[in-house]
Point group: C2
Chain length 258, copies 2
DNA sequence: CCTTTGCGTTGCGTATGCTGCAATGTATCG
DNA sequence: CGATACATTGCAGCATACGCAACGCAAAGG
C-alpha cells in the first residue's frame, strides 16, 4: 500500500535480526542510499532504531518500550500475573498465558522455571500459537460459540506436525467436544513431539472465553501422567483469574460466598 | 524527515495507548480519512497494528514479537537470565539488568518478586534509566574510561530529583571515584526519595563494563542497611555473569572463594 | 418502513513529498 | 598524502501519497 512505510517496516524487521549498515539497508530495499538514510533517520528520531558507534543500525529501545507498554496495559495480564507466578512455583513447570486477540492466539505472558536445569522452550511472548495443535488453542476453541469457532478455523490449513496432531476438521471437532465437556485440554506432543501441555480456559465477566493458562513440560522432565496431577492447581488458577475478571460461574446457587 | 513514516510512527504510538477509530486517527494526524486508512492498512499488513471486531485499531502482535526477538537475541540477557532469577529468590527483592546501549542505559530485564505483597516498581523493560541518578547508571559510569564517561555526560542536563541527587558534575565525579574504588554503587533515593538500590557492574571478555545488575527495594520493605547485607549475593551474581561473558578477573591471586 | 446520519472504503486527478543523482564531507587505508 | 569507501546534503523531476468526492453500509430515528 504505502511504499515508504512498507520500506520502513522492512528495515525495522531487519534491524531486529542483525545490525545493518546504511549500504546494506539501501541494497536490501533496492533504493538509493540517501533514501535509506532518510528512512532510518526518521526511525531513529522515534528511537525505533538506534545507531551504534560503528555506524550500524540496530533495533531501538523505543519499540521495546512501546511493546512493554502495550503488554502492560492489558488488564488480563495484570490480573493474571501473580496467579501465574504462584502456579509456576507450585508446579515447577513453565506457565503460559495465551490470549485470543482477533483471529489469532498469542502468548502474552510466560513464567519460566527459575531453576538452572530448566529447559528453555521456544515459545515467546507476542508470538502466535497454533490454534489447533496446542492445548491453549484447543481449550479456547472448545469454549467458543459455533460461529466464532468456524470463523477462526475458516482460514486454517491443517498440517500434521506429529503423529498425534489433529490434522483435519473432523477429528479436531471430536477432540474439541471432549475438551468442552471436561473443561480442560491436553497437548500430547501435537506440535512438538516431546512437548506436553495442559491448559484451562479463562472467562471474562460475560462468560466468554478470552484466554487460557497452560502448564508445559518436556517429556524428559514430566510425562503426561505427572502433568495431569497438576490439574487441580491449573484449574484453580484459571478460575481465580476468571473471577478477577468478573466472571461468576453459572450455578445460581453460588452467590458471593467467600 | 519522512512525512508518511512519521505519521505511521505517531499512529503506532497512539495505538499502544488506546484503541482508536479511523476517524480519530485521521483527526490526530490532521489528514483525510483515506490517508489514515492507507497508513493503517500498511501497518496492519505487518501486524504492527491490529483491527478489532469493533473496527478500532490497537497495537499489534508483530511489534511485540519483534521486540521480544530483539531482547532475546541479546547475548547478555541469555547469559544473565538464570543468575538474575536466582538472585531474586535469594534476596526477595526486585532485580534489574541494565545495559549500556549507545548513549543511554536501558533496562533489558527485570525480575519482580513473585510475592503477592510485592510493590510494583515503575521501571519497565526498554525504558532508559537516569545515568547519574541511579545505582546502575553510576556503577557503569564509574567503570568507563574517562573519554566515554565524558561522552555520555556531555549532553546531560543535571536535575535535582531529591535531596540526595548528585546534581552537578563535580559532586558526581567524587561519588564515581568512590564507586570505582569499592566496585559497587548505592542509590539512596537519588531519583525517587523512597527507592533504595545497590548495583554492581558486568564486564565483557575485554574487561569493559557493558551492563549492571541491581537489587531494588522501597524503604518500607528494606532500608539501606538491610539492602547492603545483600551485597555479597549481588557481587557474586555480577561476577558470575561477567565470567559467562568471558571476563577473567585480573587478580591471579583471587580464587573462587565462596 | 423509509430517511437520515455517521461511519469505513474505493477511484481518480493532482501536487506534494519522496526519490535518485551528483557533489560534498569524513574517516580509514595503503 | 592520495585513494578509497563510506555517510551526508542540496536540488530538480516525477512517482507516490494525498485530498476530494462518490459510494456502501449499518445503526439510529422519525
Amino acid at each position: 500500500m504505502s511504499q515508504s512505510i512498507q520500506r520502513a517496516i522492512d528495515l525495522i524487521r531487519r534491524s531486529a535480526e542483525h545490525p545493518m549498515s546504511l549500504t546494506e539497508a539501501a541494497e536490501m530495499l533496492g533504493v538509493h542510499k540517501s533514501t535509506a538514510l532518510r528512512i532510518l533517520q526518521t526511525l531513529e528520531g522515534a528511537r525505533f532504531v538506534r545507531k551504534t558507534g560503528a555506524g550500524t543500525y540496530v533495533f531501538g529501545s523505543g519499540l521495546i518500550e512501546l511493546s512493554e507498554l502495550a503488554l502492560g496495559s492489558m488488564d488480563l495480564r495484570q490480573f493474571a500475573s501473580e496467579h501465574l507466578r504462584l502456579l509456576q512455583r507450585q508446579t515447577g513447570h513453565t506457565v503460559h498465558l495465551a490470549q485470543l486477540t482477533g483471529d489469532e492466539i498469542i502468548y502474552v505472558d510466560k513464567v519460566d522455571s527459575p531453576a538452572f536445569d530448566a529447559v528453555k522452550l521456544p515459545s515467546r511472548i507476542g508470538r502466535a500459537v497454533s490454534i489447533y495443535a496446542s492445548a491453549v488453542g484447543k481449550v479456547i476453541l472448545a469454549h467458543l460459540s459455533r460461529e466464532e469457532r468456524d470463523r477462526l478455523l475458516a482460514h486454517v490449513t491443517f498440517e500434521r506436525y506429529t503423529d498425534t496432531t489433529f490434522a483435519d476438521r473432523e477429528s479436531l471437532d471430536a477432540e474439541l467436544a471432549r475438551v468442552a465437556q471436561r473443561g480442560w485440554a491436553l497437548d500430547d506432543g501435537e506440535h512438538d513431539a516431546y512437548v506436553m501441555c495442559i491448559a484451562a480456559p479463562i472467562m471474562d465477566s460475560r462468560g466468554k472465553v478470552i484466554a487460557a493458562v497452560s502448564v508445559t513440560a518436556i517429556e524428559v522432565i514430566a510425562n503426561l501422567h505427572q502433568l495431569k496431577e497438576k490439574l487441580p492447581l491449573l484449574l484453580e488458577t484459571s478460575e481465580l483469574i476468571s473471577k478477577e475478571l468478573g466472571f461468576t460461574p453459572e450455578r445460581p446457587s453460588a452467590p458471593t460466598a467467600s
